[in-house]
């Protein structure tokens, strides 16, 4: 480290007092930096000086009574292998091999006594001091950043575990509310009239909505921590999609939207967690129905993926409002709440698509979207036949089914047709 901002400390190590005097003279001449000089005659003495008063630079001769300049460099070597104190070797011979060896060992510079000039010496030492100073700054900055990074990681872990606790704590009283509302509605504690029963069903439905949001929060935090486990079994995704379409049909009818199911070819069975893929499909369909006007159309299409088929592809296409182009790349981000400002308040937590993508990624598949304002949207995902088992959430397991970047965590999403 530089001792204050005043004068750098240079340690001169040479067995011969004449050599030390020469160096002293050279470093004190000229108009550049002025140095505080300290001197040592042996490697041991120099190491002791480096320990008690670390210099900003060491100028050492090669041959010393208790070793060589290279021994000094080796003894000063820090954890990165290079001495923390810059060392300039002053070689008595003009043997280039010593210079090469010294530089390899981590010397900053190697000067040859026979070609030595005051300017050359001052320049070498000034450079060594400056580089040493810069490297010191770099090390400090790196240590600071590493510390900050650790702090942030810990804070993030705290937040995640807080999510988890909050979600769990909220669930219990919510369950109690729901249970007792249903005990009342089922007349287990006396008769209720139809109006009262209808109100109790509103209580239950609100509990269920809140419960779904809490589950999303929990899943999202588990996905973030890589702690969400899926249980894949051989699954006919086409049949699953047909079931979900049937399930959502009443909602579509209510909104006056045509909800259709299409199958193309013979999609293979894929290893999938049926509950989770069901969840993804319900999410995509709910979004499509939510953002499509009465009279519009929502289509679910299931097709083989790849040639020959090595997966299945599901697309949910709507004739809805579409998504502003600038929002498309952010759709799968956690907490992203975009869509049309006209439709504000149709909210949710901004977790749905993020969870969908996380679940599809856990299955080894990928999600993509294309959309244009006013022309509707298409959300699609693929599920591979051969799911990579190792590393449950392997972000780079793209098997190249489609063009475009894979929407892994934080990656840009594959945007097609824009």
């Amino acid at each position: 480290m530089v001792n204050g901002d005043v004068h750098p400390l240079a340690l001169l190590l040479a067995g011969n007092p004449g050599d030390r005097a020469l160096c002293r003279q050279m470093l004190r001449g000229g108009a550049g930096d002025r140095y505080v000089l300290s001197e040592a005659a042996t490697v041991a003495e120099a190491l002791e000086r480096c320990r008690t008063a670390p210099p900003d630079c060491v100028v050492t001769g090669y041959a010393l009574s208790d070793g060589t300049g290279l021994d000094l460099i080796a003894a000063l070597a820090g954890p990165e292998g290079r001495p923390a104190v810059p060392v300039v070797l002053l070689s008595g011979t003009s043997d280039e091999r010593i210079a090469v060896e010294a530089m390899k060992a981590g010397a900053r510079d190697c000067l040859f006594k026979i070609r030595l000039s005051g300017r050359g010496m001052r320049r070498a030492v000034a450079n060594a001091v400056e580089r040493g100073r810069l490297e010191g700054c770099l090390r400090e900055n790196q240590a600071r950043l590493e510390g900050l990074n650790r702090d942030l990681a810990r804070k993030n872990a705290d937040i995640q575990s807080f999510y988890h606790t909050v979600s769990h704590e909220l669930k219990t009283p919510l369950t109690v509310i729901r249970e007792f509302a249903m005990i009342l509605a089922d007349e287990l504690s006396g008769p209720v009239n139809d109006e009262q029963r209808a109100y109790l069903h509103i209580v239950r439905n609100s509990c269920d909505r809140m419960s779904a949001m809490i589950n999303d929060l929990l899943d999202s935090s588990r996905l973030e921590n890589g702690k969400l486990a899926i249980h894949p079994v051989p699954t006919d995704v086409g049949a699953l999609a047909r079931d979900v379409v049937a399930e959502m049909q009443p909602l579509a009818l209510e909104k006056g939207i045509t909800l259709a199911w299409e199958a193309a070819g013979e999609p293979p069975q894929v290893p999938a967690d049926p509950c989770r893929i069901h969840e993804v499909l319900v999410n995509l369909l709910s979004n499509a129905l939510k953002f499509t006007e009465p009279g519009g159309r929502v289509t679910v299409r299931v097709a083989p993926e790849g040639e020959p088929p090595d997966g299945v592809r599901v697309d949910v296409t709507d004739t809805g409002v579409g998504i502003p182009t600038d929002q498309v790349p952010h759709l799968f981000e956690r907490f992203f709440q975009g869509r049309n400002p006209d439709l504000e308040g149709m909210g949710g937590l901004g977790l749905g698509l993020n969870i969908c993508k996380g679940l599809v990624t856990l299955h080894g598949g990928h999600m993509d979207v294309d959309s244009r304002p006013g022309e509707g949207s298409r959300f699609g995902f693929t599920l591979p036949v051969n799911r990579k088992e190792e590393g449950r959430c392997e972000p780079n397991s793209d098997r190249g089914g489609r063009a475009g970047p894979r929407p892994g965590a934080g990656d840009p999403v594959a945007v097609e047709g824009l």
Binding site: H168, E179, F180, I183, S189
Partner: protein, 120 residues
């Protein structure tokens, strides 16, 4: 534990409405004493109970000839595999993790009581 007691009450109301005589206790030792004195057809047991815990209750019930064969359904809030392993050592009739689907719990109870010969 207030919420848990409320949930236990809700469950008891449901069970009584299905015609089961239901006794609720929130204390492990009291539960063991009650079960031994008047052996039930089924014990619904929360692993995390005050005064000893559900596993201790299970141990005492299994050790007593009067209650050794009473089917046990465990309920736990713990996600730790060792909790489940320790509970499974008592060969329970079922094992539920919180939050559980109360409808599924009720049908499980129906199934256990329908197929198992009543004890005591």
């Amino acid at each position: 534990m207030e919420d848990e007691q409320d949930l236990a009450l809700a469950l008891a109301i449901r069970l009584r409405s299905r015609g089961y005589e239901t006794v609720v206790t929130h204390d492990a030792l009291m539960g063991v004493n009650m079960a031994v004195r008047n052996p039930p057809d089924l014990v619904l047991l929360d692993v995390a109970m005050p005064a000893g815990g559900g596993l201790l209750v299970a141990e005492r019930l299994r050790a007593n000839a009067r209650t050794a064969a009473v089917p046990i359904i465990f309920i736990t809030a713990s996600k730790k595999p060792e909790t489940k392993d320790r509970a499974m050592a008592f060969s329970p009739a079922a094992f539920f993790e919180k939050p559980f689907d109360s409808a599924l719990l009720l049908t499980t109870i129906d199934a256990v009581l329908g197929t198992e010969a009543p004890v005591g």
